[in-house]
Each structure stands twice: as structure tokens, then as C-alpha cells.
């Protein structure tokens, strides 16, 4: 939305000591978000009126001419290619320093002195597009220069002054006025400025117009629920022409392209009041009977942009006695559009239900200046003001025209007058400071609220233009007062509250803890990935697609399912990183989603329905070019350290996973906490990389963290270490061996392998296992002899159970 400062000057006098930048800032701080301040004169800086004195052909170029141009103070030599150039013509001369756009395209550049095909040129004679005035002066060809001969201008005059293009435009972010239907017009913005600067605001002038009753205009509102008000007027003896200069330049200033006098008037009033209007060619409105009704299923309609649109069922339509003529509040129809030969119009000023307009415009993907305004819930009272203003303007522009019907007004305004009772104490409480009663009253009155104050309570009458949805509760009044008072004038202090018992959340604490542990102790780097899984990975990993939740409006096919596991994205990131690194470790801690299980979160207050389970998963990959065994043992080692770190008792058992080798499931008692193993070779494009994986159900894992660690008294007697190496069958597992050894005697405290190898000297299908043994007693210092005996026992058992041979 553009605010034109010239426009609002119709109703108020802006303070002299406040510059335009300050106005933008004050609006930002009190009302809306300003994106940019555009100074029209600044944009046309160094562009002046010139008079062409002399034209000679350019010596080097056929299409160029060299002109002597009177620019007021001097006569300049300027090279020009304008096809309509003639001697004595008044033109726009862009001098050195002016901002221009070559051929009306691309970026704005600052003009400098130039030699054109060997001839020096002091600036240029501009075409309209080159100085951003294309909308005001439609030109027939690109080579045509701006001809100012029809204007009362003289050489040397700055162009902005000559054409009265001296407005300041404040560009307002539309998002910041979504809730304020009244600010979609200049008058509403003027009201805000008046409130901010304590200015007197002229009441909006409405003139009573005389009407003839030649045309029996009839309006039937069949859908009262969606059409709150409909006013129609027929006007005859119209002559379609270009609008006068003042109207054109005012529209251009707020970014609208002038079209013809009638369309321009409807746009002008819309921009002035925020009330969209529409003009039908009366010849096309059969029986002068307007009907407002809903579209039926399967119908279609051609809008005035020439597109045939399939109408959503229930779309609110304007119809005559036979056919649809407009999409209510969104766009008119091609069949009743104003043409150059139009002489009779029916002017529409209506109020449609915001939700209805919004739904249809969303369904059609069709947005317009009109729908943007109706969506915000416009004040139905405005419709009458607007149609009167528009008719008055049309009558003044077309001197022969007259109003040919009575003003038809079908009014089903559902909005009630709102009176709010706001205790003074509420305002002071929400401010956290005491505000003078008179200040509060003054602010509200400037915003045109009705205010009465008795027994420390304000009785506040909400003006109709704020009462459609914007202001409905006392807190809304707090906001009105506070924003004009100035948020930054409110004193601030930290809240004084009662201390509360802290909440210990093991999942939160655990997450914080384990991330650091993984990063800093285990050299794992944390990655963040998307919540979406590519179906290609679902297939690659052999996951069950039925467990995946589908995203209805995915941004791309690769992101159409929610993660069931973090592995697919981690693997994909691993693949990316293999381009740069041979070895790395990555992990992620995030929520994953399982379609088939009910989760802990309810969907609404009834707490009867629940969202799918979406607990956090903790998962990681270890990527290496070493052999598989090393990667596997490294991952296993990580799991062992992690479980030690959190003091969780666990055991593992071998499982089969479609995407893994050597996969194990991790359990605490009977509860499955996660799994780990090796990703199958060739699952990634890089066939050399060995990838170990692990993943936990994090919510479960943290549940079994054992915080009750107890100190073990330090050993009183020294331990003795011995080594042993045996040759066994290759199939013998270390863990079996270990179990047997530990069971031999309580004096054997630890058995730890340090060397495993196979080779010719060991024999086929055999391996050598070397390990340390640690012996210790809690009652005495063990003697060498005691240990010698135990070593013999160990060997004996190993020989018996595993046919081991001492090396």
C-alpha cells in the first residue's frame, strides 16, 4: 500500500517541522511498517524541460541526430535518436547526474557525460520509459521521446515541478495492515497521521447528488450471509476518455496505471477510502437487474483479464437476469467490461463477507486490489460514502453525464455498534505505569473513538470502520492507547514474581549433555537435516513405506515423506561429504515420525485424539576407508562408552536388517533402545567407504539413565597382570572365551584381548588370540604361585572348551 503525502493534504496540514523520513519513522513506531520513502522529485532530479532549437544529422550515424537544446540557462548539444523529434519541441532533458533506465529496462544508472559515435552529448533527451513515466504517457514506440509541447512549461524548469510530480510516497508493508481494513485507503492513513501529530482532520466530504429515475435498477441479494450490502447506481451520457492530468498523476504516484476516466475514478476512490468499486457497461446488464448469488458446481466464468475460470462451488457471483457479470469482490467479467464506446454504466459499491471473498480468491489463485481489501472486513458504511464520491467525480469529469436511477441500497449490515467498558486500571496494569486520564482520552478521541469517563472506567464507542473485527475487547483499546502514546515511552522494569520450583527434565538435560559428549569426547560432528525422506532412500534401506507419513504439499518429490528414521538423511549427507572427506563421524538428534503408532500429544482440548508418535531419535554414522571390522568395532566401542557414561545396563543381540551387515539390537532388560552395525557395501554411490551406523530411541534411552552412581572402594591389595596367547578355531568368538575365563575364579578381574591374528604360521582356519589377564584378591596380596596356578586353570579350561593350544 502506498501512502501519498500530497493526497492526504486534502484533509490535513502536515506539521512543518517534521520531514518525510520522520513521518515514515513515526508511522512505523505507531501504526504500520514502512518499507521505503519514495521522493518523486528526487527520482526526477537533474531532469529539466528543454526546447529543441536546432537539429542536424549525426555525421557518423543514420538514426541519430545532434540537437541544440535550450535548457534555460544555456543551450546544450545533445545527441538524440528520437523518431518524433522536431524543431521547437518541448522535451525532457536528462542532464548529467540524472537517474535513467536504458530503454526502460534493467537497473537505474546515473547519467554521465558521454561521447556518442564521436559526438559529445550533454545528457539525453528522454523517452518516458527511460525516466519511469511510462504509465503516465503511453507511447507508441520505443524510439519516441517525451513531447511536452501540450504542457504549460518553459525551458529550464525542473521536470518534477513542470509536471507537478512532487509527491512523497510512503511504501507500507501490506502485512502490517492485514488487520486494519481502514488503512487500505488514504483517508484512513490520514486519520492515523492526525492522531500521531495532533492534527485537525477534515471530515470526509459527501455531496448529495440529484438523480433521475429513467432506469429502474433492481438489486436482488439472494445470498444475504455473504453479501452484507450492495449499492448500485446507473449513470448515463458517459464519454470514455483519458483522465485529466491531476487524476493520472495521482494514480501513478500510488503505483496504478491510468486506463480511462471511469476505471480511474473507481480506482481513485478505492485508494482514497479503501472501498473497492466496480463499473459495469450498462448495455450488458440484462433487464438492469443485478443479482448476488452463489455459483453452482461445475460452472465457469471469463474474467476481464480474458481467462476462463472454473468456479468453486459456492463462489459469490454478481449476475444479471441471465448470466454472471462479475466475481463478487474479486474481478469483473469480460462480458460487461467498460469499453471505449461505453455510454452508460452501472456503478457497484458493495460489501461482501471477508471469508467468502478470501475462500474464492484462494481457490482460484486470483488476487486483486479489490479482494485484498474485502478480505480484511471492510466497514459496510463505507460503501455509501464511496459510491457517492465516485458518482460525483464521474459527473465532474463527464460534463454531459447524469445519474439515471435512484440509489439502490440493499443493506444487511450484520455489524453491531461496539461499546467497550475499559477500566482505567486495566490500561495502567498493562502499561506497568500510570497514564493520565486526559492522555488516554485524547488519544482515543483523535482516533475517533467515542469516549466517556466515569468512576475510573472508560465507556468507549468503537467507530464503525474499526468495528468489523479489529477492535472487540478491552485489550484492543490498551493497544490503541499504547501505540500512539509510544511503546518506547513506557518505563520498563523486570517482573517481580514468586520463585518457582525448577523443573528437571531428563530429556532436555540428556540432549544437551550427549550432544557435547559426542562432539567433544567422541569427535562426532552434529548435523541438522530436513524432516523429509526421499522415497528412493525408503526403497534403498528397505523401510516400510506404510509407516511413513505423506506430506500433502511437498516442495519437491524428494521431500514427500516425513522421516521415520534419521538414517536416510544422514546417509545422504555422508554421500555428499565423501566428496571432501574420507573419514568423518556425524550425528543428529531430532524427532522422527511413525504413522502407525499413536503418540503422546493430543490434538485438541478434548484429549481424545492423538497425533502420530514423534519421539526423538539419536543417530550417527561413522564413515571410514578402513576395513569393516575396524569401523564396526569403533561403533561398538562408542555404544559401550555411551552406555557406561549414562550407566545404563544393556545387552545386545544380533538381528537382521535389510540395509545392514553385523547388525545388533540394543536392549535394556526387554526394552529395545536402538541398534547399530555396518551399512551394506554399495548402498552408497561411493563403494569404498565403510559406514558404521547407530541409532537410539532417545526418549527411551534417557528414561534409563542411571544417576545413582555409587563409588567403589579402591583395591587394598595389588593386582598381578599376566599375558596369554592361544590358538583356537577361527569360529571361536572372543565373548565366549571371555565368559569362560571370568567364570573360573573371582580372582580374575579382567580379561582383555590385545592381539588377534591369522596366518600361515597359525594354520588354516585358526587364529591366535593374545590377551591380558588381571588377578587380584580383596583379602591379600596374591603371590606368583597363586597366579601360576590360575593361569594353568585358564589354559586347561580353554583346551577343554575350545581345543585351544598355548602359543
Amino acid at each position: 500500500m502506498y501512502l501519498s503525502l500530497n493526497w492526504v493534504k486534502n484533509w490535513l496540514k502536515l506539521p512543518k517541522d517534521v520531514d518525510n523520513k520522520q513521518i515514515a519513522l513515526d508511522l512505523t513506531m505507531a501504526t504500520v511498517e514502512v518499507e521505503e520513502v519514495i521522493d518523486q522529485a528526487e527520482a526526477l532530479k537533474d531532469i529539466v524541460v528543454g526546447k529543441v532549437k536546432e537539429i542536424v544529422k549525426h555525421p557518423q550515424a543514420d538514426r541519430l541526430q545532434v540537437c541544440q537544446v535550450d535548457t534555460g540557462e544555456s543551450v546544450e548539444k545533445i545527441v538524440c535518436g528520437g523518431s518524433n523529434l522536431s524543431k521547437g519541441m518541448l522535451v525532457a532533458v536528462a542532464q548529467v547526474g540524472a537517474k535513467v533506465r536504458w530503454h526502460g529496462q534493467g537497473n537505474w544508472v546515473t547519467l554521465s557525460k558521454a561521447k556518442i559515435r564521436g559526438v559529445e552529448s550533454q545528457g539525453m533527451i528522454a523517452a518516458v520509459e527511460e525516466i519511469g513515466l511510462g504509465d503516465l504517457f503511453p507511447s507508441r514506440s520505443e524510439t519516441e521521446i517525451l513531447d511536452l509541447s501540450g504542457f504549460k512549461v518553459k525551458p529550464g524548469q525542473p521536470l518534477s515541478q513542470a509536471l507537478e510530480l512532487d509527491d512523497t510516497i510512503i511504501d507500507i508493508d501490506n502485512k502490517s495492515i492485514n488487520h486494519r481494513p481502514d488503512l487500505w485507503g488514504q483517508y484512513g492513513l490520514a486519520r492515523e497521521l492526525a492522531a500521531i501529530y495532533h492534527l485537525k482532520l477534515k471530515e470526509y466530504p459527501v455531496v448529495d447528488l440529484t438523480t433521475k429515475n429513467q432506469i429502474k435498477l433492481k438489486v436482488s441479494v439472494q445470498d444475504k450471509a455473504n453479501c452484507f450490502r450492495y449499492l448500485g447506481w446507473a449513470i448515463k451520457n458517459i464519454k470514455i476518455e483519458d483522465s485529466p492530468w491531476w487524476l493520472k498523476k495521482q494514480l501513478q504516484a500510488v503505483g496504478l496505471r491510468p486506463i480511462n476516466n471511469i476505471v480511474d475514478v473507481t480506482n481513485y476512490v478505492m485508494y482514497e477510502l479503501g472501498q473497492p468499486l466496480h463499473a459495469f457497461d450498462a448495455r450488458q446488464i440484462k433487464d438492469a437487474h443485478i443479482q448476488i448469488k452463489q455459483a453452482k458446481k461445475g460452472e465457469s466464468f471469463i474474467t476481464l483479464d480474458g481467462k476462463r475460470r472454473k468456479l468453486p462451488e459456492g463462489a459469490l457471483m454478481i449476475s444479471d437476469s441471465q448470466k454472471y457479470v462479475a466475481l463478487a469482490g474479486i474481478m469483473g467479467g469480460q462480458n460487461s467490461e467498460i469499453g471505449t464506446d461505453t455510454t452508460e454504466i452501472i456503478l457497484e459499491s458493495a460489501n461482501f463477507r471477508a471469508a467468502s471473498v478470501r475462500r474464492t480468491s484462494t481457490a482460484l489463485g486470483l488476487r486483486s486490489e479489490s479482494s485484498a481489501r474485502f478480505e480484511k472486513s471492510i466497514d459496510p458504511l463505507l460503501a455509501e460514502t464511496a459510491i457517492k464520491k465516485a458518482a460525483q467525480l464521474i459527473l465532474s469529469l463527464c460534463s454531459e453525464s447524469y445519474i439515471a436511477s435512484k440509489l439502490v441500497d440493499v443493506n444487511n449490515n450484520p455489524f453491531k455498534e461496539i461499546t467497550l467498558e475499559v477500566p482505567e486500571s486495566l490500561i495502567n496494569q498493562r502499561f506497568g505505569a500510570v497514564i493520565h486520564t486526559t492522555d488516554i482520552k485524547g488519544i482515543l478521541q483523535r482516533l475517533q473513538f467515542g469516549v466517556e469517563h466515569r468512576s475510573k472506567t472508560f465507556q468507549i464507542k468503537v467507530p464503525s470502520f474499526r468495528a468489523t473485527k479489529d477492535i472487540s475487547i478491552p485489550e484492543d483499546i490498551v493497544e490503541e492507547v499504547a501505540r500512539i502514546y509510544g511503546y518506547n515511552n513506557i518505563p520498563y522494569q523486570l517482573p517481580q514474581v514468586v520463585l518457582q520450583e525448577p523443573i528437571f527434565d531428563v530429556a532436555y538435560q540428556g540432549a544437551k549433555d550427549i550432544k557435547k559428549w559426542l562432539a567433544w569426547a567422541q569427535a562426532y560432528t552434529e548435523v541438522y537435516t530436513y524432516a523429509f525422506t526421499d522415497i528412493v532412500w525408503v526403497e534403498k534401506l528397505g523401510f516400510d513405506l506404510k509407516q511413513h507419513l505423506k506430506v500433502k504439499n511437498a516442495v519437491s518429490p524428494e521431500q514427500s515423506y516425513l522421516n521415520l528414521s534419521l538414517l536416510p538423511n544422514l546417509l545422504s549427507k555422508a554421500e555428499d561429504n565423501l566428496r571432501w572427506f574420507d573419514e568423518f563421524r556425524i550425528f543428529e538428534l531430532e524427532r522422527v515420525f511413525d504413522k502407525r503408532s499413536r503418540g503422546a500429544y493430543h490434538t485438541d482440548q478434548s484429549k481424545k485424539k492423538f497425533l502420530p508418535v514423534q519421539e526423538k531419535s539419536l543417530a550417527g554414522l561413522e564413515v571410514s576407508s578402513y576395513n569393516s571390522e575396524q569401523v564396526f568395532l569403533s561403533v561398538k566401542g562408542l555404544i559401550e562408552s555411551l552406555m557406561d557414561y549414562w550407566n545404563i545396563k544393556w545387552q545386545s543381540e544380533k538381528i537382521k536388517l535389510p540395509y545392514a551387515n553385523h547388525a545388533f539390537q540394543l536392549k535394556h532388560q526387554d526394552i529395545i533402545l536402538g541398534n547399530f552395525g555396518l551399512i551394506k557395501d554399495r548402498l552408497l554411490d561411493d563403494a569404498k567407504a565403510k559406514i558404521g551406523f547407530w541409532q537410539f530411541d532417545f526418549a527411551l534411552l534417557v528414561k534409563y539413565i542411571n544417576f545413582s552412581k555409587r563409588y567403589q572402594s579402591l583395591p587394598k591389595f595389588p593386582s598381578i597382570r599376566r599375558d596369554m596367547a592361544v590358538v583356537v578355531d577361527e569360529t571361536v568368538g572372543w565373548s565366549d572365551l571371555e565368559k569362560e575365563i571370568i567364570n573360573i575364579s573371582s580372582l580374575i578381574r579382567q580379561v582383555e584381548p590385545f592381539d588377534v591374528f591369522t596366518g600361515q604360521e597359525i594354520g588354516a582356519n585358526k587364529k591366535s588370540l593374545a590377551f591380558h589377564l588381571e588377578f587380584r584378591s580383596d583379602d591379600k596380596t596374591l603371590m606368583a604361585e597363586d597366579v601360576d596356578q590360575l593361569m594353568k586353570d585358564v589354559l586347561k579350561i580353554l583346551e577343554k572348551k575350545f581345543q585351544a593350544v598355548l602359543r
Binding site: 513506531m29 511498517e33 571432501w580 485438541d604
Partner: protein, 335 residues
């Protein structure tokens, strides 16, 4: 035992000859002469000998001990002397670094924020990302057909649910669960349906904050945010409030932070305004308090939605938002 002693002596002398440096010398001392050394263990055996053998073996043992100590002492002297000149090495070689991993920059900044809030007695909560329409929109005064839904393009998931568009989805959940007074923040991942480029992501991170108590006011909100932001940025920061419309707060604000690139003078980052938009906030709308089961006559509160991703990008001057979800270790190893 005599044999053992002589054998020990021989071994000692032969090993002593190979001594070249301090370390090995110290090892030998422990091995043979230490409290738990071989000689000591033989000497301990003397007490178990037959009475008649004790004196002779004892004497021999002592002689050998004396001899070993003497020879050891001489060797030690020689070695120590030659070792006055330390072994030379190139100390300009790089140190042996331990490999470490890296936390994601968002994790780092999020934790700084959490810690600052925790010090003010805010608890930290987490909640669903796959959310119902009710908690993401309706409970927050955003019914169907509300234009505010336009500004929050939504990922819809089968089963009528959605991916939360903001961390505000937890406001009503938390009030339902904990009631008032309440002080908490809820950091986490949020989603908007849009295509990605250097400055747009469909996945980003926010930290919602909610404080509900008796008599919470606008001044409290400014004071809390100013102290917290100062803690996060390790310096005093200036903030300003201006109007902003969000259906679940009333009044609603945008909070700006003084641009710390130009310190308020105006630069390209702050579009010459001296201020950078930081977060929407406001006093909790009575309708939201009611949805959370509280009496708006009794309680009031403030809420804010801090853009964590934006803060991370500001802090580390990251100019492409996509890097954050890229998993690119060349990027992540910088933090």
C-alpha cells in the same frame, strides 16, 4: 636361591651396558632395585629359608645388593652428566591435536539463549512438530479463513495435521499442562511451505517464550528481552517496540534490535534504519489464556518468538541460510 641371585647379577650387568638414556636407567632401577623389584622379591624369600642357610645366603644377597647399587650409582652419574645436554628436537613442529567434533551453530546459539533464560527462572520445554490445526492455529485466535494463515504457508500432512509453522504451537499446550504462573521457553524446528534460496528456507528454528503471571505488563516484556539479549550478545543492546499484528497477542509488537554492524548509524544490513527486526512479541491475548484454561481477569502474560536461525546468521555473518541444513562438514567444522 644363590643361583637365582647370581643369575640376577649377570642379567643386571648385561642390561646396564645397553643403557643410553635416563628413562631406561630409571626403568632398570625399578625392575631390579625397586621396592617391588626382583632383588627385593628374592630377599623376601630369605625369611623362608632353613635356619642354617639364612646367614650365608643373607650375606651373599647383601653383598650383591651393595655391588649392584654401587655399579648402578656409577652408571647413573655417567648418564646424568652426558644428559645435561637435552636431546634436540624441532619444537616448531605443530602440536599433536586431538580430533574433536563440532556442535551445529544453531545448537550453540540455542544453548546460550537457554542458559540466559534459565538464569531468570525460565524452564525449557519441547513439544510436537507434527501438530494439529487446533494448537497451531485455532487455539491461537487464527480460525480458518483468517488472512494471518496466508503469511504462514503451511506444510499439510496426511491425517489433517500439519508441520508447525511456529513454536507458538506450544503456548496453549503448556498452559493446559502447567497452568499459571508459567515461565518457559520452547526452542525448536519449524516449517513454512516455500521454496529455498540463499535467504529462504522451509525449515528453520525458533525459540518461543511465554511468561504468565499476575500483572505482567509491556514494561516487563521490554525489560526481560533487553536483559536477555544483552546476555546473549555479551554486551548491552538497545531494543525498540513497534506495532505488529499477530492474532495471539494483544497488543502485538515487533521488537527491533539496534543494528550491531553499524551500531545504529545505518548500513546496508539494517537498510539504513539503524534497527534490525528481531522478533514478534506481545501480551498474551485473553482468548489464548482462556484456551489454556486460565482466567484473563486474573492473569496476564507476554509471549515472543525469537528467530533462532536469524540470530545464528547474524552472529556468525552467515549469508546463505541453506548452509545450516546442508550437513556440509566444511561448514560445520568452523564452529
Amino acid at each position: 636361591m644363590e643361583k637365582k641371585l647370581r643369575e640376577l647379577k649377570n642379567r643386571f650387568f648385561s642390561e646396564l651396558k645397553t643403557v643410553r638414556d635416563d628413562d631406561f636407567l630409571a626403568e632398570l632401577k625399578i625392575k631390579y632395585l625397586g621396592r617391588k623389584g626382583e632383588l627385593a622379591s628374592i630377599l623376601r624369600g630369605v625369611k623362608d629359608l632353613a635356619v642354617e642357610e639364612k646367614p650365608r645366603v643373607g650375606q651373599l644377597a647383601n653383598e650383591i645388593k651393595k655391588e649392584l647399587l654401587e655399579v648402578f650409582g656409577r652408571t647413573e652419574a655417567i648418564i646424568k652428566k652426558s644428559a645435561i645436554r637435552p636431546r634436540n628436537f624441532d619444537s616448531s613442529l605443530p602440536g599433536q591435536r586431538r580430533e574433536i567434533g563440532h556442535l551445529h551453530p544453531s545448537t550453540i546459539v540455542q544453548e546460550e539463549i537457554e542458559e540466559a533464560f534459565a538464569k531468570l527462572g525460565f524452564s525449557i520445554f519441547d513439544g510436537p512438530q507434527l501438530e494439529s490445526d487446533y494448537y497451531n492455529f485455532t487455539a491461537l485466535n487464527i480460525p480458518e479463513d483468517h488472512p494471518a494463515r496466508d503469511t504462514q504457508d503451511t506444510f499439510w500432512v496426511e491425517g489433517k495435521n500439519l508441520l508447525r509453522t511456529h513454536t507458538s504451537n506450544l503456548q496453549v499446550r503448556m498452559l493446559e499442562k502447567y497452568g499459571a504462573p508459567f515461565r518457559g521457553i520452547f526452542p525448536g524446528r519449524v516449517f513454512r511451505y516455500e521454496s529455498t534460496d540463499a535467504s529462504h528456507e522451509h525449515t528453520f528454528y525458533q525459540t518461543e517464550g511465554l511468561m504468565v503471571d499476575r500483572n505482567i505488563n509491556i514494561g516487563n516484556l521490554i525489560a526481560v528481552m533487553q536483559s536477555l539479549l544483552s546476555a546473549v550478545f555479551h554486551k548491552k543492546v538497545n531494543v525498540r517496540l513497534r506495532p505488529g499484528f499477530f492474532p495471539f497477542v494483544e497488543p502485538g509488537f515487533e521488537m527491533d534490535i539496534e543494528c550491531f554492524i553499524c551500531e545504529g548509524d545505518g548500513c546496508s544490513v539494517c537498510k539504513q534504519s539503524g534497527w534490525v527486526e528481531l522478533m514478534p512479541c506481545g501480551l498474551v491475548h485473553p482468548g489464548v489464556l482462556k484456551a489454556g484454561g486460565l482466567d484473563p481477569e486474573e492473569y496476564s502474560g507476554f509471549a515472543f518468538g525469537l528467530g533462532l536461525t536469524r540470530l545464528v546468521m547474524m552472529k556468525y555473518r552467515i549469508n546463505d541460510i541453506r548452509l545450516l541444513q546442508s550437513g556440509d562438514l566444511r561448514f560445520l567444522k568452523q564452529f
